[in-house]
């Protein structure tokens, strides 16, 4: 009796069912409605971009892992998230070769150079986005009209730009995003349009409602820290309300600030990147507030119309400090953490 080899491992011998790959996969599902809507609004261009960015990220991840003699890590789904997020932050009609480059940079520079999943101190998708923003400032600020009638039949000309060449001059339409319109022309887009995504903008940032839905799904499944979007939105809300109350002419209302630009997308899907955000609940509050304040500062006083990306990157840069400074009080110790255990 009992002739099989026993297996031994350390306690606990049971684990909660949720694995890292489950979390990552669910994030992808949560982004699906947003991506779907993006395809509905911007057509083939958006679809191609999503595919290109995801392919670039997954491929880079796979190849780099192979090159460094490790097991391929694409099965954890994190590269897919990066790819999809990157695509969602780019304007529709963005040349595919640039998208591909962004994906390579996001994974290679933003993730793999740091040691892969779990060690990237910045959100890889945002690193890719920031790289593209700096490298191709014109292309990335060229917006296309939503609901173009022929969007499912043909692709925007600039999408298929030959690699390494300049995209053709701006298409017929070059609308301003609501934020740019506000910044440069002081025009306020109605909240209804903003919420439903009836506006030009990046592929995935237009429909605030669907993004929020995805976020709620993740929160409900316990796969996202609800404090991050809540604190960001709260900070933006409070700060911009104060400004708005002080001078309603010069400063837009908090609703406009919430719904415009990439704030929703950033707050729900980018800032919540577990790896690059603080771990402690209090740290998370500080992190979210910092990002929120920075977003408002950059949007209102900065040179650029949008600052969510930069705000999150800066938040990422600060999060190691928050992990060190804002920590829970250990059971049975006084408030100060640094008291040495005797």
């Amino acid at each position: 009796m009992f002739q099989k080899t026993l297996h031994i491992s350390t306690s606990p011998h049971v684990v909660r069912g949720i694995g890292t790959d489950d979390i990552m996969r669910n994030v992808v599902w949560a982004m699906a409605p947003t991506a779907g809507y993006a395809i509905w609004v911007f057509g083939l261009s958006a679809l191609l971009m999503l595919l290109t960015a995801t392919a670039a990220c997954v491929l880079t991840e796979h190849l780099l892992a192979r090159m460094s003699g490790k097991e391929s890590t694409i099965s954890d789904w994190s590269a897919v998230i990066t790819g999809a997020l990157l695509a969602l932050t780019l304007p529709p009609g963005f040349p595919l070769w640039m998208t591909f480059l962004g994906g390579v940079v996001a994974i290679g520079l933003g993730k793999f150079a740091f040691g892969g999943l779990g060690y990237n101190v910045f959100n890889p998708a945002l690193v890719g986005r920031a790289f593209l923003q700096a490298a191709f400032p014109v292309a990335i600020t060229t917006w296309h009209k939503a609901f173009a009638p022929e969007r499912f039949l043909s692709v925007t000309a600039s999408t298929l730009t030959f690699p390494f060449t300049e995209p053709a001059a701006v298409d017929a339409f070059s609308g301003a995003t609501p934020l740019a319109a506000f910044k440069f022309e002081h025009a306020i887009t109605p909240a209804y349009d903003l919420a439903l995504g009836l506006i030009p903008g990046s592929t995935g940032e237009t429909c605030a409602v669907l993004i929020a839905l995805g976020g709620l799904y993740l929160i409900a499944r316990g796969m996202m820290d609800w404090r991050i979007p809540v604190s960001i939105l709260a900070a933006v809300g409070v700060f911009s309300s104060i400004l708005h109350l002080a001078d309603a002419e010069a400063y837009p209302s908090p609703v406009f600030m919430w719904l415009s630009g990439g704030l929703m997308l950033g707050a729900v899907f980018m800032a919540t990147d577990m790896v690059a955000s603080p771990v402690t609940p209090l740290g998370v509050w500080v992190y979210g507030t910092l990002i929120g304040v920075l977003v408002v500062v950059i949007r209102i006083w900065g040179g650029l119309p949008e600052g969510v990306m930069y705000a999150i990157l800066l938040g990422n840069a600060v999060s190691p400090h928050l992990d060190k400074l804002v920590i829970p009080r250990v059971y049975g110790t006084s408030r100060t953490y640094k008291t040495k255990a005797t």
Binding site: S68, G115, A130, W301, G302, A311, L313, A317
Partner: protein, 194 residues
């Protein structure tokens, strides 16, 4: 050019044109000392302090040189004053706090060859700042330098326990982070331009 507000000077020197991330000044200590939080903040403080001293010195020197009509001696007199000042500070610290001296190690003398300090003196002269403006400029530059250093130190401390590929470890990784930080700081561009 001398009508810039103090606030604008400070923001410009610390965030928009951060000495390390936009002007590449003080990269050597930035790469060297940013490994540990404690050292980084001390170094930041030391640099800011030396910046303040040299900013005031440079302002005085410039006025003097203009008075005697020997502006061509600007560079040499700046650097020699800064170098001596740093050496004095170094001796002082060595005497007063050997632990601090050991912590900052060889980097104290390297403050002398820290481009950020001389760069600050030259820039403030080029921009024609007055005394108060110079001091604020020095404060801003020092704050920016310290900020970059501390951010970097936090990130590097975290990455110390990461499975970073060996070919990337060390300077390469630090430069990559600096690049990304530099990208992130671009968000501050144009702050106050409208």
């Amino acid at each position: 050019m001398t009508h810039e507000s103090l606030w604008a000077i400070f923001i410009n020197a610390s965030l928009i044109n951060n000495f390390v991330l936009a002007y590449f000044l003080g990269i050597c200590p930035f790469l060297g000392v940013s490994g540990k939080m404690a050292t980084a903040s001390k170094m930041g403080g030391a640099v800011t302090f030396v910046m303040l001293i040299s900013s005031v010195c440079a302002y005085a020197l410039h006025s003097l040189l203009v008075a005697i009509g020997a502006v061509y001696l600007q560079l040499i007199s700046y650097i020699v004053v800064i170098a001596s000042a740093v050496q004095l500070v170094e001796m002082f610290i060595k005497k007063v706090s050997p632990t601090l001296f050991r912590a900052l190690g060889i980097f104290l003398p390297l403050i002398t060859t820290n481009c950020a300090i001389l760069g600050l003196a030259l820039f403030q002269t080029n921009k024609g700042y007055g005394l108060l403006q110079s001091v604020v400029y020095a404060l801003g530059a020092g704050a920016g330098f310290t900020l970059a250093l501390i951010l970097m130190a936090g990130l590097r401390e975290r990455l110390e326990y990461a499975e970073t590929p060996n070919v990337v470890k060390g300077t390469v990784l630090t430069l990559l982070i600096a690049g990304i930080l530099s990208l992130a700081f671009m968000g501050f561009a144009g702050l106050g331009s409208n």
